[in-house]
């Protein structure tokens, strides 16, 4: 094995959506970083759908941006359709979603990586971790080079022992047309990691020239596309529509006729697939009464005729695929350019991680993305960013960063992963966040900008802009709380026009804004100062005032839980022979090894009484240690 002369601070294995953020963060924090990928043409590839964002995922993208990550800027620069979803269901469940030009997305990210100081991008397949005297020293590659690094971040995606299924035909592959990574997962198993198997899938890619778009319903971009990044001023890419098509009873018949050759139903696939993203055969089998299923036909880019039929993933044999796609209205003559396939891959149970994403078994080793059992570009990028940050902080000898469930979706996701583990591919939903109202897209910068700045990931100019914005919000909040309405004839008329004739003289503007029927849009008719305020300031103030009662309730809950959240359970803490703990609870705690009492409380089957006992024992454990 040839030992490469440069010694790195951080080595990132894999350049997918997790790997890109995981490499950029430490490099930007001043650590010499190496990013290895099996193929340099395969960096930041959107292997499945062409979109970024959506419910909870859009929230993640904004958090990544607030912390100084790249994903939001990348999609803003390469997105060809932007929409805000859920505009009427509440402030915290609004989310942006964009269709990307896949090739532009990949190339722009590659360009950013290539021009990043402190970052070396190299082609290479990692086959094993290089460990010396039980300590992680670097990685070994298939081509015979050993890279030395202080920390290693694994972001292997679907590549570890990847197995592609099309009908009963299957062959090793990390993604269609690419080789799998062999050796690394066995290496991890040998080190004591709990390696399991998951399954996911992707639909076929269809030739747009053979789709009759006139017979499909078009869905256009929002008129004023809202960017993801707080730094993007305007979306400049041309915008294109998606199209809606439907399956029918004949489609379902064809699908059923192929089930005997489905690897899923014949038991060839062992890995567990995501329930929220079932294959079309799964939908037809599980919901037999449903007469049709909807699919969005999404463009893969501006310079390609390839289209992605979302929700139509499948691992059925190729003849069935062709037949069922062609059974749909508007797709009668469709040509399939790439077939749909299912893929099985190895992952490592994330309960073997700390909330910093460092593994509990091997110091200085971090895992991010699909290796942790998640799915989704945004979930991967969020983890990659945190792993990158913490690897850099380790190199610098600083305390790691962790996010609470009340601070960010990244925090919710990582806490779910490391305390509950993964049984099926994990995807973010807003319903997973118990403090959802606080974790909004619009306030991601207020929640996380300071952290990003203090880490050195947010530049000075951006931070100054942010501070100004915060000041303006405070100023406006103060103004509406102290400005009283004089009830002039004009104001009186306004009140009766807006169904609030009951407003008394001397009512403050914030009290008026609290009414469900009133927002700045109405208020500005009598409050000329607010007319000149920037849109984002008005949005913040309006939300903070309107939902103050609910927000305060959530803040109180958080305060009540804080004590428990903060109590750390020492690594060497022994759960054996604790009176009052059942054997089952002891076994669970030993397996999950929670870092804090808060984590312990969230493990399935751990009762409040058990947590109370552990709390007492942890306290006495600490005191005994101090004495001895």
């Amino acid at each position: 094995m040839h030992c490469y002369e440069t010694k790195y601070d951080v080595i990132v294995v894999g350049a997918g959506h997790a790997g890109c953020e995981a490499a950029l963060a430490p490099a930007r924090m001043g650590c010499l970083t190496l990013l290895l990928n099996m193929s340099l043409d395969g960096m930041a590839v959107m292997s499945c759908n062409p979109s970024i964002g959506g419910l909870a995922k859009g929230h993640l993208v904004r958090e990544i941006d607030a912390l100084g990550g790249e994903m939001a800027k990348n999609i803003d620069a390469t997105g060809i359709q932007f929409r805000v979803l859920n505009t009427r269901k509440g402030p915290a469940v609004r989310a942006g979603r964009a269709q990307a030009d896949k090739q532009l997305y990949r190339l722009r990210m590659k360009n950013i990586l290539e021009h990043q100081d402190n970052l070396h991008v190299k082609q290479g397949e990692v086959t094993a971790l290089y460990i010396e005297k039980d300590e992680l020293r670097g990685v070994d590659t298939r081509s015979g080079i050993r890279f030395i690094g202080k920390t290693v971040i694994l972001t292997t995606g679907t590549f570890m022992r990847g197995l592609i299924h099309i009908g009963l035909i299957n062959y090793p592959g990390g993604r269609a047309g690419e080789l799998p990574s062999a050796g690394l997962s066995d290496n991890l198993k040998g080190l004591g990691f709990d390696v399991g198997r998951l399954k996911t899938g992707t639909p076929a890619r269809l030739d747009g020239r053979t789709i009759d778009f006139k017979r499909l319903e078009a869905q256009y971009s929002d008129e004023n596309p809202v960017p993801f990044s707080f730094s993007t001023k305007r979306i400049t890419m041309p915008q294109t529509p998606c199209y809606i098509a439907y399956t029918n009873s004949r489609t379902h018949e064809i699908i059923r006729s192929g089930l005997d050759r489905s690897p899923l139903y014949s038991g060839v696939i062992e890995g567990i697939g995501p329930r929220y993203c079932p294959s079309i055969e799964d939908k037809v089998v599980r919901f037999p009464d449903k007469e049709r299923h909807q699919t969005f036909i999404e463009p893969e880019g501006l310079e390609t005729v390839e289209y992605y039929p979302s929700g139509m993933s499948s691992s059925l044999p190729i003849d069935i695929q062709i037949a069922f796609y062609r059974s749909m209205e508007g797709l009668e003559k469709v040509e399939m350019m790439r077939p749909a396939y299912g893929i099985e891959y190895d992952y490592v149970n994330p309960i073997q991680l700390h909330a910093t994403l460092e593994t509990k078994l091997l110091k200085n080793l971090f895992h991010a993305g699909q290796i942790n059992g998640t799915s989704g570009y945004e979930e991967a990028a969020g983890q990659g960013l945190l792993a990158g940050i913490n690897a850099a902080l380790r190199v610098k000898g600083k305390e790691p960063v962790q996010f609470g469930r009340h601070e960010s979706y990244i925090g919710v996701m990582i806490d779910d992963l490391v305390t509950l583990g993964v049984k099926e591919p994990y995807r973010m939903f807003t319903s997973r966040a118990e403090h959802r109202l606080l974790l909004r897209e619009d306030n991601a910068d207020i929640r996380l900008r300071d952290v990003g700045y203090s880490l050195g990931l947010v530049d000075e100019a951006t931070y100054i802009d942010f501070c100004k914005k915060k000041e303006e919000i405070e100023k406006e909040l103060g103004r509406v709380k102290t400005t009283r309405i004089g009830l002039t004839p004009e104001e009186k008329e306004w009140c009766s026009n807006h169904n609030c004739a009951d407003i008394q003289k001397g009512t403050t503007l914030d009290q008026i804004l609290r009414r469900p029927e009133i927002g700045y849009e109405q208020l500005e008719e009598i409050d000329y100062i607010s007319k000149k305020l920037p849109k984002e300031i008005r949005e913040q103030v309006e939300i903070q005032i309107k939902y103050q009662g609910y927000i305060n309730r959530q803040l109180e809950q958080i305060e009540r839980m804080r004590k428990q959240e903060e109590v750390r359970i020492p690594e060497e803490f022994n759960y054996n022979n604790i009176p009052g703990l059942t054997l089952e609870v002891q076994e669970k705690l030993k397996k999950y090894k929670p870092d804090t009492l808060g984590q312990a409380a969230r493990i399935e089957g751990i009762t409040p009484a058990a947590v109370a006992i552990v709390a007492v024992m942890v306290k006495s454990f600490g005191e005994k240690k101090v004495e001895s």
């Binding site: 859920n86 915290a92 909807q294 006495s620």
Partner: protein, 460 residues
């Protein structure tokens, strides 16, 4: 494990006892005390000088009604059992007053303490050492009165079942709301306000019924009532005394000595049983005072949960004895043959409807234990009390939870009518479900997601 809030619990054993103590610990202890305890004097901080006992009256903060008179002592931190501010109310003993006082503390803002929580706080605040603290786990895992625990666990079994049904309805509704929020582009049906409204309103009706079982529930407020019925001088008063272990009824050989109803509550293996000794019944009597007593006894027959029908074992069964059976009517009865120390002359075969029968002699102290067991078994396994329809709320804690659930749902309905966004509606529902979780165990995100994925075809 919320160390920040203020907790309360009854510190003395439930049931008989001269004094009952309700204890409150936490930063709000003093303000809660001020809401409940009223000392006539203005000096000494109005009765809130630390570590001094004051006399006054206890009022319920919800309606200002008088609960009892008694003593109150405030112990300011750190000189207290938990090293927090602690206030203790000393009132008269007995289930009713003490639980009402506890209820007052809860409505004044305290949370009901978990088992062992006072001790846990004492430890966490450094007041006691580990050896003492280890007993916490014992307190949590064992109950002092096994039989009581059994009776309660059975009762709670029915309660949990009906609460589980409510929980399912709430989770189903939440799943609807969450699916509507999280899957805007999947074909999830829009929230149908009308259906949801009906569903949640029905839940609230059930909740109210359950809460009512606490307020009016005979069994739990008064325990069960057992009426002693029999001809004069059959030995009712002696039996009452034997069961209660006191000498309250006047016992004499002259028939008709007991002229009024005498009630005594005893704890049979933890089950509160009110035993009523009614005036002896004779068809021909000349004493009008006793006649009045007989009339009242007959009224009580219908109201009793169980009748102990006493016949004198030393005499043959008379027609009057048989008449008693018809007086009993539909109320179940247990046949007690008294004076079993004397030769048995009565023929019990004519009392075929009896739920059980036994032979006692109060003079020789024979058979009392057996009778006790029979009474207890009757109630604990009785379908009357434990039938599915008889889910009863027996603890203040449960009632407290149900009330909170109900008010969250009220808010939910109100907000839905005001057309507030789904996200906020979900918060109210989640609060209701999390409150119910204090009885049924927590609802995890996965429970909700499971339901969403099984009810809707999700997947873009």
């Amino acid at each position: 494990m919320y160390i920040l809030d203020t907790i309360t619990a009854i510190a003395t054993p439930l049931g008989a006892g001269g004094i009952g103590i309700v204890r409150v610990s936490g930063s709000d202890a003093e303000s809660i005390g001020k809401l409940i305890f009223n000392n006539s004097k203005k000096i000494n901080g109005g009765g809130f000088e630390s570590h001094r006992l004051f006399y006054g009256r206890f009022h319920h903060p919800s309606d200002g009604s008088l609960i009892d008179e008694g003593m109150c002592v405030l112990m300011r931190a750190p000189r207290s059992y938990t090293r927090e501010d602690v206030i203790e109310f000393h009132c008269h003993g007995g289930y009713l007053i003490v639980s009402r006082l506890l209820d007052a503390c809860v409505s004044a803002g305290a949370r009901l303490a978990e088992p062992g929580e006072f001790t846990r706080r004492a430890f966490l605040n450094g007041r006691i050492d580990l050896a003492q603290a280890e007993s916490i786990s014992d307190i949590i895992s064992t109950s002092t009165d096994k039989a009581l625990a059994l009776a309660q666990s059975q009762r709670e079994g029915y309660l949990s079942r009906s609460i589980a049904r409510l929980r399912t309805l709430l989770i189903e509704t939440l799943a609807l709301v969450e699916a509507y929020i999280d899957f805007p582009e999947d074909e999830v049906d829009p929230l149908v306000t009308e259906t949801v409204f009906k569903k949640i309103s029905a839940v609230r009706v059930t909740l109210q019924k359950l809460v009512d079982t606490f307020n009016t529930g005979k069994v739990l407020r008064d325990g069960v009532s057992v009426l002693l019925l029999g001809l004069p001088n059959v030995g009712k008063s002696s039996l009452l005394n034997a069961l209660t272990g006191t000498d309250r009824s006047i016992v004499s050989h002259i028939p008709g000595t007991t002229r009024d109803l005498i009630e005594e509550t005893v704890s049979l293996n933890g089950l509160p049983v009110k035993i009523i000794d009614a005036a002896g019944i004779r068809s021909h009597n000349y004493d009008c005072i006793e006649q009045e007593g007989v009339r009242r006894a007959l009224d009580k027959v219908a109201a009793a949960d169980l009748i102990l029908l006493l016949i004198d074992g030393s005499r043959p069964v008379s027609d009057e004895d048989i008449e008693l059976v018809s007086m009993v009517g539909k109320t179940p009865y247990l046949l007690v043959v008294t004076k079993s120390d004397l030769p048995l002359l009565s023929d019990t075969s004519r009392f075929t409807n009896s739920v059980a029968s036994c032979y006692v002699s109060t003079k020789a102290s024979v058979g009392i234990d057996h009778l006790t067991i029979l009474i207890y078994d009757y109630f604990v396994s009785s379908s009357v009390l434990l039938s599915d329809g008889a889910a009863v709320v027996s603890s203040v804690r449960h009632r407290d939870v149900l009330l909170r659930v109900s008010s969250s749902l009220e808010l939910f309905l109100k907000n839905m009518q005001m057309d507030l966004p789904a996200e906020l509606l979900s918060l109210d529902l989640r609060e209701a479900i999390s409150a119910l979780g204090e009885i049924t165990g927590e609802t995890t995100t996965d429970d909700i997601l499971d339901l969403i994925f099984s009810s809707f075809c999700i997947g873009k």
